[in-house]
């Protein structure tokens, strides 16, 4: 058994008086494709922020890559993809190449320039997400799904071991969501990237994920997709704290 990529022990976190995480124990096994689900306000984004080192826990400890977190040293090993296709400034005048190159900025370091090796790496990352033909297009001219692929390339270019994706498929149509998951599946299987995906779209996710975790202040479930899909309405109502109607996703 290899060491987990992320290991959280007894983590609690509150925003002023509101507790959003209550003694959470949580591990992301190496090489897994983990789906993190739960209601809004259930602490998913807070958990991600803790892993990224943007906030510190009130209680408990976080180990990343078998080492207590040292944000500046380890941040290069973590790639992050947010809901960018929805929120970024579409008119921003940058080419795909320029956007992906920004994923290397911190890794290259201050006062240094992009050399040939880095440029090749950028093109390789764009190629991996199948967007090489668009490398010198302005990012604003692409569709939402294509833009999200570019943000994956930006995360990939620094060669991270763990990629965290925070609801990356919001606002993308079903066909492209499918292609998006296939891309993630390939990264996970062929390149052995560990993926942690926050999503509401549990239907498609269960087809690809290796682990699923339900979070609502506390950790309510951690298992594989088969176990997850066999959960009953009663189980879900317990997690969510209110009655839940299960709708099957048979696309």
């Amino acid at each position: 058994m290899t060491e987990p990529v992320v290991s959280m022990k007894n983590i609690s976190y509150s925003y002023e008086s509101k507790k959003v995480l209550d003694h959470v124990n949580f591990e992301v096994p190496q090489g897994s494709f983990m789906g993190l689900v739960g209601p809004n306000g259930g602490g998913k984004t807070t958990l991600i922020k803790l892993i990224l080192g943007l906030i510190k826990p009130d209680e408990g400890s976080i180990a990343i890559f078998n080492d207590s977190i040292n944000p500046r040293k380890d941040r290069n090993k973590i790639g992050f993809v947010s809901q960018k296709a929805n929120s970024f400034n579409k008119g921003f005048p940058a080419t795909v190449f320029e956007v992906v190159s920004s994923g290397l900025t911190a890794k290259i370091g201050y006062f240094k320039f992009l050399n040939k090796t880095y440029k090749a790496k950028i093109l390789e990352a764009i190629d991996q997400v199948g967007m090489l033909a668009f490398a010198y297009e302005n990012i604003g001219n692409l569709s939402g799904g294509q833009q999200q692929r570019i943000f994956i390339a930006r995360a990939l270019v620094s060669d991270p071991e763990l990629i965290i994706l925070d609801e990356p498929t919001v606002g993308i149509d079903y066909e492209n969501v499918k292609r998006f998951y296939e891309l993630l599946h390939r990264l996970n299987k062929e390149q052995n990237k560990t993926l942690l995906l926050v999503t509401h779209d549990t239907g498609t996710m269960t087809e690809y994920a290796t682990d699923i975790v339900c979070l609502n202040k506390e950790l309510h479930f951690h298992g594989n997709p088969e176990e997850y899909t066999s959960l009953t309405e009663k189980d879900f109502s317990q997690f969510y704290g209110h009655p839940v109607n299960l709708v099957s996703h048979n696309h």
Binding site: F80, F97, S102, Y110
Partner: protein
């Protein structure tokens, strides 16, 4: 036409200074525009005016020889740091920092100007720019600022770009976002103070934003936009200075109007450019 600019010292310094600010104003302007901070330039130029008025007052009332360019620069830099502080105080309403600093700048200017017994030609030159206001010392100072600004942008280009495109990502990836941003705002303050001699307080922000607005219509990618902005900035400054001199109009006015003409041409070109593409797309 250019002969006078090489014959007379004061015109030569004006011309050379114009060439420098034609580079540095649009250079920083590119980042300012894409970060939606265009109005910061306006706020800082009014704070610079307060600094200049303070310098003029100190000279007139107390006989202190405080060159207005320097006092303007000091005020502008202090203003830029205060804007950053205010932006963190009003996190949900960051744009509030701009009217606060802008009105403080105008308020202080009015007080200093009235203590100095009102307007004079010198102040008029600071408001609208002048072709004859740049001394050798001013030129050397502005040359120093320009070299510094260009070096910082060259060596921190990828950090400035990353921060402008996606501040959240920059911070997560471990960049010192706050410090880089502060350095950038201070550079902006210096460039504004340096540009005021030629384009004037009221129009300095135009030189930082109009060339960028024009190049944005035409460029592919960020670097190309930056280079095109500098080209448009230079064109505006050169044509503006020459026409201002021969027509006896403050160059601030002519430089800005030429920038506007370039902008209109860019918008027109883009329309012509995109029309045939639309036809092709629909086939």
């Amino acid at each position: 036409m250019l002969a006078d600019f090489f014959q007379y010292d004061f015109l030569r310094y004006t011309f050379l200074t114009g060439l420098l600010i034609g580079v540095i104003a649009p250079l920083l302007g590119t980042f300012i525009v894409v970060r939606r901070l265009s109005l910061i330039a306006d706020a800082l130029s009014h704070v610079t005016l307060a600094g200049i008025a303070f310098g003029l007052m100190a000279e007139k009332k107390f006989g202190l020889m405080l060159p207005p360019l320097y006092s303007g620069m000091v005020f502008s830099v202090i203003g830029s740091v205060l804007i950053e502080k205010l932006r963190s105080v009003y996190k949900a309403f960051q744009e509030l920092a701009i009217p606060i600093i802008l009105s403080a700048g105008v308020g202080l200017s009015v007080i200093f100007i009235s203590i100095a017994d009102g307007f004079n030609t010198d102040l008029f030159n600071y408001l609208f720019g002048s072709v004859s206001a740049v001394s050798q010392n001013d030129f050397l100072m502005i040359l120093g600022i320009s070299v510094f600004v260009v070096l910082v942008v060259v060596f921190l280009y990828k950090e400035l770009f990353t921060l402008s495109f996606d501040e959240e990502h920059a911070t997560i990836s471990g960049l010192h976002s706050k410090q880089i941003h502060l350095l950038f705002i201070v550079l902006t303050a210096l460039v504004i103070a340096a540009s005021i001699r030629i384009v004037g307080v009221l129009l300095v922000s135009a030189l930082m934003t109009l060339p960028v607005a024009a190049s944005m219509r035409l460029a592919k990618g960020f670097k190309q936009m930056m280079l095109l902005s500098i080209l448009f900035g230079e064109l505006s400054v050169i044509l503006g200075l020459i026409s201002g001199y021969y027509l006896s109009i403050p160059p601030g006015g002519t430089i800005v109007m030429i920038s506007i003409i370039i902008l209109l041409i860019a918008i027109g070109l883009k329309r012509i450019q995109s029309k045939p593409r639309k036809v092709r797309d629909s086939v």
